[in-house]
């Protein structure tokens, strides 16, 4: 599988220089009385591959969903590329952002979901071209050419006309990855993308993601239970527990010599 050259060369990312791309400041998220994130601070530099690990319910997925604006934080701010995500500055004051501002910042972020969430009313090709055409205003033939390249890259060049129901879970997830990449995001959020797959289909999806991780400069934020994969691609691993980062470090350090007791317990349970 060859890397898509366009991804590295044409990436018109202003922030692939290792600067801070994502910043959470004292972000609190509650569901009712359940505090999922508790004044969370953390940041991700651009181009980095960061994996969030931790027990279920520790708030990992919530972070991705906050970044994708599928959830709104109760308190605190999130910045992407220096711009506030769900807030905007008006007359020197920080107020809730309008839809236009949110869409402007959100265009830098793409997401791949656990359940793929392909559009069942569209072919694989159109799943990939629809947003570039109607959101980015790309000419249809250009979008289609690029979609074919992306489908080739994920090994599904022969499935352009297939509908999601005609594809296996692994194939659907690879289309979903292509769909997210077609928007040329700076940040790719991967939310347990292999958890819903049959075991024999996991490797194909992870191979595609490894390929993207190694050949592009897209920033990746990844929630996964595939520790081998996390070890392969991660520049940084964050260990979550009860809505806080309790330990972070390089993949090597985190997997080989974790310092925190909770991290050791967690890793010995999952490895």
């Amino acid at each position: 599988m060859s890397a898509d050259q366009n991804l590295t060369k044409d990436q018109s990312n202003p922030a692939v220089d290792g600067k801070e791309l994502i910043r959470f400041d004292k972000v609190t998220k509650r569901f009712g009385s359940n505090v999922v994130l508790d004044e969370l601070d953390f940041s991700v530099n651009s181009g980095k591959h960061v994996t969030l690990i931790g027990p279920s319910g520790s708030g990992k997925t919530t972070i991705l969903r906050l970044l994708m604006t599928l959830l709104k934080p109760e308190e605190g701010t999130i910045r992407v590329g220096g711009k506030y995500l769900t807030h905007e500055e008006r007359n020197g004051k920080l107020v809730k952002a309008g839809e236009k501002h949110i869409r402007e910042v959100r265009k830098n972020i793409g997401m791949v979901f656990q359940q793929f969430n392909l559009f069942p009313n569209m072919s694989a090709l159109r799943n990939i071209t629809e947003a570039p055409v109607s959101v980015l205003g790309l000419p249809k033939d250009e979008a289609e050419e690029r979609a074919r390249e992306l489908l080739d890259m994920v090994g599904l060049g022969d499935k352009t006309d297939a509908y999601p129901t005609q594809l296996s879970g692994g194939q659907q997830q690879r289309v979903a990855i292509a769909r997210a990449l077609a928007m040329r995001p700076q940040v790719l959020l991967l939310d347990e993308v292999t958890s819903a797959l049959d075991p024999e289909l996991v490797a194909g999806v992870l191979d595609v993601l490894r390929d993207i991780a190694h050949t592009t400069d897209i920033t990746m934020l990844c929630v996964t239970h595939e520790m081998g994969f996390a070890r392969d691609i991660s520049d940084q691993v964050l260990m979550f527990d009860s809505g806080r980062v309790i330990e972070s470090g390089t993949a090597e350090k985190m997997f080989n010599e974790p310092e925190h007791e909770r991290t050791r317990e967690f890793l010995s349970a999952v490895l």
Partner: protein
């Protein structure tokens, strides 16, 4: 039972009028269904309130009285005089559109929330999500209840005979008044309504199969009338359920 003159001057044109009233009312009802049904899912409470009020008013009033109101009250209230057919089409279209809006609203609510999230992740606007993702996915779910409603509407068109629109029921009433022989004419009318309803159902079934194909779904097993007459292998050939699993 009916003279040739009556048949060509009243009954055939009456059938045509029934068809016209059905088509116009259905078109109006469909437009109202989508408009009101979509507005009722708006995040703005004032929009939901206004569209919900429309729904409650037209669901809660008699289509027949609404027809009289359009034909006889509107001229004195607003100074507008509809031709009788327009009054009938308005009353039927607005009333059945209210029922239809419930179908649209329900089908939209049944679209998986994850689809909305995928649309947000691709940065579609709300309008784009509705047009490209939510409505196309809701559409196949709307067709069976729309079929019921369409048949209700077809039968409801007989009401226009009460405001002097010369549909086939009106022609039937004329014949009864002239000849006093009710049984054959009303039996014939029932048969014609039934045949129309049957044809509409077949048409809607085709529409449903096409809509499901566009979702990449294989059509549901044929369960309709006449399906037993087809052989199993012929059905398989038609549905094309060979490879795609």
């Amino acid at each position: 039972m009916m003279s040739e003159k009556f048949f060509t001057e009243w009954f055939l044109p009456g059938i045509w009028i029934t068809v016209q009233v059905t088509v116009y009312s259905a078109a109006l009802a469909l437009a109202v269904s989508f408009l009101i049904g979509t507005l009722r899912t708006s995040p703005l409470w004032i929009v939901r309130f206004a569209s919900g009020t429309y729904f409650e008013i037209f669901r809660g009033t008699s289509a027949l009285v609404m027809m009289f109101w359009m034909a006889y009250a509107v001229p004195s209230l607003l100074g507008i005089q509809f031709v009788p057919m327009a009054a009938g089409v308005l009353a039927l279209g607005l009333t059945y559109g209210a029922y239809g809006s419930e179908i649209v609203r329900g089908a939209l609510a049944a679209v998986a929330p994850a689809q909305r999230e995928a649309g947000i992740a691709l940065n579609f606007t709300k309008a784009q999500r509705l047009r490209k993702i939510e409505l196309p996915q809701a559409w196949p779910e709307m067709i069976p209840p729309f079929n019921n409603l369409l048949i209700e509407l077809l039968k409801g068109t007989a009401l226009v005979s009460t405001i002097a629109v010369a549909d086939m029921t009106f022609a039937g009433n004329l014949l009864r008044l002239a000849k006093g022989d009710s049984a054959p004419i009303y039996t014939l009318l029932l048969v014609i309504y039934f045949v129309f309803a049957f044809l509409l159902t077949r048409g809607m079934r085709l529409l449903e199969r096409q809509a499901n194909r566009r979702m990449g779904k294989t059509p549901p097993e044929k369960t309709g009338f006449l399906s037993g007459l087809r052989s199993k292998s012929a059905t398989d050939a038609v549905t094309g359920t060979g490879g795609a699993k």
